[in-house]
Symmetry: C2
Subunit: 374 residues, 2 copies
């Protein structure tokens, strides 16, 4: 991995040599188009559903008119199952354009693309113009109505360079990333798929299985739910059809990880039966170590933060007053969570601040009559 700055690839506000065409006007495609329009780039958007393209265009994602203009860059933003066909169609239709995509998985669509090209004897399709990409931004929501020009601001965006990519194409995709406000992270095809299997697809599947076990639970059991189960299962609310395609397209990398988790569960089940606590504790310790392996804010080493819990009344303005008081103490809030529990007429807010400031924050809030504690 290396990061690329705007100095290395030209100023990000440089326009492309021609318009950009975005194929697929869902959340990601429409957001890419809006970010390009924001950057002053002439942008067209298409979708298999013309209404979807029109909605995107009406939200500022460029034009959905078919002018026949030759694009300099085509961004394929379809669901995983259609990536290979759409990338191939773009290469065929626009032989002078650079083609990229925003797919969550890279190896299988590439293999499908290569197989499709190989099936056509005498094809002159040049894959050097295709460079894969993957912005690490999304939402449980979907569709062009959820899109936003700043969806990618400051996010990592994997640029998946292969040895057969032309340097011109790589530069163009890097420029796209910077124009969208994101940060270029270079990765090979296989590295990318292994990485997202671990940090996105496996967590999604295990969140879904955890949430699935809540079905059929008596209401009074669920009434005991706290913040833990809410956090663990949040991502499982995402679009099941889209996630099914993602999971299926990254089957190999995921199967390895899922197999390891199944082995871990077998160890847990055997240990529970044999009352062998040492192996249970070993797995729990590995989990603790794993949580601290996730990089902290701004990609640096994890910041040493402490949580301060504050009780707040459930009414407009309470959070505003709380944060005004924290601001007056000059303390930067790193993160926060709100916990709602049954039967309570107020909320608990957990505020993460740098550990060195936690006591100062508690002191400042207590002086202003907040109930604040570590």
């Amino acid at each position: 991995m290396r990061s690329v700055t705007s100095e290395q690839v030209g100023h990000p506000s440089d326009p492309f040599a021609g318009p950009v065409l975005v194929v697929g006007a869902g959340l990601i495609g429409a957001s890419v188009a809006m970010a390009l329009v924001r950057a002053g780039v002439e942008t067209y958007v298409r979708d298999v559903d013309a209404v979807v393209a029109h909605v995107a265009a009406s939200r500022g994602a460029g034009s959905d008119a078919d002018t026949g203009a030759e694009p300099a860059l085509v961004v394929v933003a379809t669901p995983p199952d259609h990536l290979a066909a759409e990338i191939k169609a773009a290469l065929e239709t626009f032989p002078n354009a650079v083609i990229t995509d925003v797919g969550s998985v890279k190896a299988r669509p590439l293999a499908e693309l290569r197989a499709a090209v190989a099936r056509e004897r005498g094809s002159t399709l040049d894959l050097a113009h295709y460079v894969g990409g993957h912005p690490m931004a999304g939402s449980e929501r979907s569709g062009p109505l959820a899109s936003a020009a700043d969806l990618f601001d400051g996010r990592a965006w994997a640029v998946v360079v292969r040895p057969d990519c032309s340097s011109h194409a790589v530069r163009a995709v890097e420029r796209l990333v910077l124009l969208c406000g994101a940060v270029v992270v270079h990765m090979s095809t296989d590295e990318h798929d292994l990485a997202v299997a671990r940090i996105s697809h496996l967590p999604h599947l295990l969140a879904a299985l955890t949430a699935g076990q809540l079905n059929g639970a008596p209401v009074e059991h669920l009434a005991l739910s706290g913040q833990g189960v809410r956090d663990v299962t949040r991502v499982a609310a995402g679009d099941p059809r889209l996630w099914c395609q993602i999971v299926s397209a990254n089957a190999e990398a995921l199967a390895v990880l899922l197999g390891r988790v199944r082995d871990d569960i077998d160890v847990l089940l055997e240990s529970l039966e044999l009352h062998d606590d040492s192996r249970i504790e070993q797995l729990l310790r590995a989990g603790v170590a794993g949580t601290s392996a996730i990089p902290g804010k701004h990609g640096g080493p994890g910041l040493d933060v402490s949580a301060v819990t504050v009780a707040i009344p459930d009414e407009p303005g309470a959070l505003a007053t709380l944060f005004a008081d924290a601001r007056d103490a000059g303390i930067n809030i790193e993160d926060l969570r709100i916990d709602h529990d049954p039967g309570r007429a107020f909320g608990l807010v957990e505020i993460d601040v740098a550990t060195e400031y936690a006591d100062r924050l508690i002191e400042a809030l207590t002086a202003r009559r907040w109930s604040a504690h570590r």
Copy 2:
């Protein structure tokens, strides 16, 4: 489940007929003691480690002196492995007192207690004085330094009533819950353990296994981590020794759920190999349904909320200004999340508001030059 109000069990500020003794001065024990002191109850705190008891006492958790005063109520707040022995000791030492505990698991300690009593021929120990309890509050942090008088304010607190409990004992434990600011939720022993296996112990284990798979991942892979994996794995940072005892003590209920998850993983592995997407999607859909089974704010049916995303600069005061602006629009914030990504000099805040207010909030924030969108 039924909820008990203060009217039904006497005013919660009624003192007990004597002092309360808290055995075990960790996070939960010290917090119970602090809450009782806050309520004006004479409270003593003890711990196998006298220093721990002293730290708790110095933070306002009553007295750690050994006065020999006869308690009206004993709260056993030790780790699960020591619950049965400590409950038995309390019953023996204080035959006139009501005994309760705050353990995360109820059936096994009760069985151990009954077995220990049965082993002593001619024992006159009366378990009618013992009523189990479990406050649904905690933290990834532990020890008396993390304790707080308001840890239980508004939280659910399971009161586990058995047919052989005396009504006097049940009333006393209900009063304890109300004095601590929590909400009484009645459950049977087995119901309780099934409920927490589902909404707490299984999520914890699967979060730990997800996090465990991050160990050994290349740093550049982890650099792609987003909010999803952070949320899924957060609870896995909890004390592994304590969680090992909890998991082990609830082995039977957990084994059933873990077995089902293993079966689900087998389905996933087979489906991935056979490219049978329908079964994968089915499991993902069950996950979506599970997330919506978790009760919403205040235990009512899930409120229909929408998320509004706002970009904020990474500096003190930005959140304060944002929330002041939301307050001025008269809109109540239901929940929020902050997402930090690598290389970004600002944060994205997702604000959940009732769906009917989302557009008004976006309009109000946009008018004040925030970048806000759904």
